[in-house]
Symmetry: C2
Subunit: 284 residues, 2 copies
């Protein structure tokens, strides 16, 4: 990464070097991007305002584990705009120190979600103890520092390469259909001519039919609702924010008309971004 | 609890004795209920089939943290029926060993969600290290076993009482509007005459307007949609199950007609239960 020119954008991601987020950043922005690791989601969202990065990349959804709620909550209060999305397949590797073997292992550490996605492996090796850690790549770093052949970590290929780990087994995940979707966040709205996807947050008055009424302007026009996610409104028990992903291009008259109707019907609408959707290969 | 008669139902809950789930079980079923602690959500859902309990009580939603997704996923595959719901306020106490004081503390342990709900306290005491643990009540048990005056735990009043902990501070939570909602699960459907709430899971064909169309039979009849939650369909990226809570009594002609229309429109509908909703005091 030291080869990156000063013109390459600096992108913040959550986790340590080698995280799946880093892999997603390189897939979206190319190998010349400058990678800015941040320890927490809060510090990730603060990175651009602090001048530490030009962009931030945040995971929003895994196809097995579901939405990343902390990120949805931070999006609500953030002035950042969604500028793009990227989807990567999650492939878990078992990574040990040089000299370690499958037989020498006693413990395997990783993020709890990664551990939970490799149940079959742990069932086949009941002698191995699983240890929860803060993140996947950080576990690889810790294992390699220890030089302990009884320890291994579960993480992606990039982490193995960066820390010089030995890949003891590939394809550890129970299910192959395992993808994570990330949003690229920028201080300014996206002006990409290829934008075809709209993300917004909705606040509704609590009355019967409110959500149905809010979706109607899009349904009537055949505009596809790709995802809906609800999160509790902080301090207002049993009220929710709704996050909608819709298939519509900016400036499209149908989409604009639906949005105008939505604004009349909802207690609040905030546009998170209008951006190009990830390639069809990832959306099947 | 040893005073419970053999006729009192045995209710399984996740966590150790003194957990918030235990508090909810006693609120819903009375002090004579026999409490069956289970270590994980998986073992909670298996408790009735194994003959270890007559009922199971599972948390589904916290008004600050949001839905408990593991429970939603387990509900989908479980043959159990929702028989009732109960809502309890979450009040966090700082609990130490006899002889400990606020000044003697060096570490505070609890479930990560509880720790995150007490940010103000930790900001006021930057010298105290926070330690994540498996559950709130279990942390109190561990602290009391250690007899270490530098350790405290965050949990509810019931945990302090059961383990003989000293309450060093009350009202540790940042926000007072903190409630958790639990579902009581039973092997047979609920036959309660006071049932006024319906929970179901929906599978939709993926086409524009599918969700809007599914909600329409309820919206047209003024039937209140209380909550909607989406979860990924395992092995089918970007497809979702929708969990709906609706305000409708069993046998109500309007509700039955809406449900019949829904079955025609959806790729799949599964009724989770028809049950009496929690008291108005909890729903504001």
């Amino acid at each position: 990464m030291s080869a990156a020119s000063t013109a390459a954008p600096r992108v913040a991601f959550q986790g340590e070097r080698g995280a799946f987020s880093e892999e997603a950043a390189v897939k979206l922005l190319g190998a010349s991007v400058t990678l800015v690791p941040r320890p927490t989601f809060e510090s990730l969202f603060a990175a651009t305002a602090e001048g530490a990065a030009d962009l931030a990349l945040a995971p929003v959804e895994n196809t097995l584990a579901g939405s990343v709620h902390r990120v949805y909550d931070l999006l609500l209060d953030s002035p950042l705009h969604v500028a793009a999305e990227v989807v990567i397949p999650i492939r878990h590797l078992l990574i040990g120190c040089p000299g370690s073997t499958l037989e020498s292992l006693r413990t395997v550490e990783s993020h709890p979600v990664a551990l939970a996605q490799c149940e079959r492996f742990f069932a086949s090796r009941p002698d191995i103890r699983r240890l929860a850690s803060e993140d996947t790549a950080g576990s690889v770093a810790a294992v390699l520092r220890s030089r302990d052949p009884t320890r291994a970590a579960i993480a992606g290929r990039r982490a193995a390469e960066i820390y010089g780990g030995v890949v003891l087994r590939e394809g550890l995940e129970d299910r192959a259909e395992n993808y994570t979707r990330f949003l690229l966040l920028a201080p300014e709205p996206c002006a990409d001519a290829g934008a075809d996807k709209l993300s917004l947050v909705l606040k509704l008055a609590h009355r019967p039919g409110a959500l149905h009424l809010a979706l109607e302007p899009f349904a009537r026009r055949g505009i596809d609702l790709l995802k809906i996610e609800s999160r509790p409104v902080c301090g207002r028990p049993w009220e929710y924010h709704f996050y909608l992903d819709l298939r519509t291009a900016p400036g499209d008259p149908e989409g604009e008309a639906a949005l105008a109707e939505l604004r009349e019907r909802a207690a609040g609408v905030r546009i998170l971004g209008h951006y190009p959707s990830a390639g069809a290969e990832a959306r099947r």
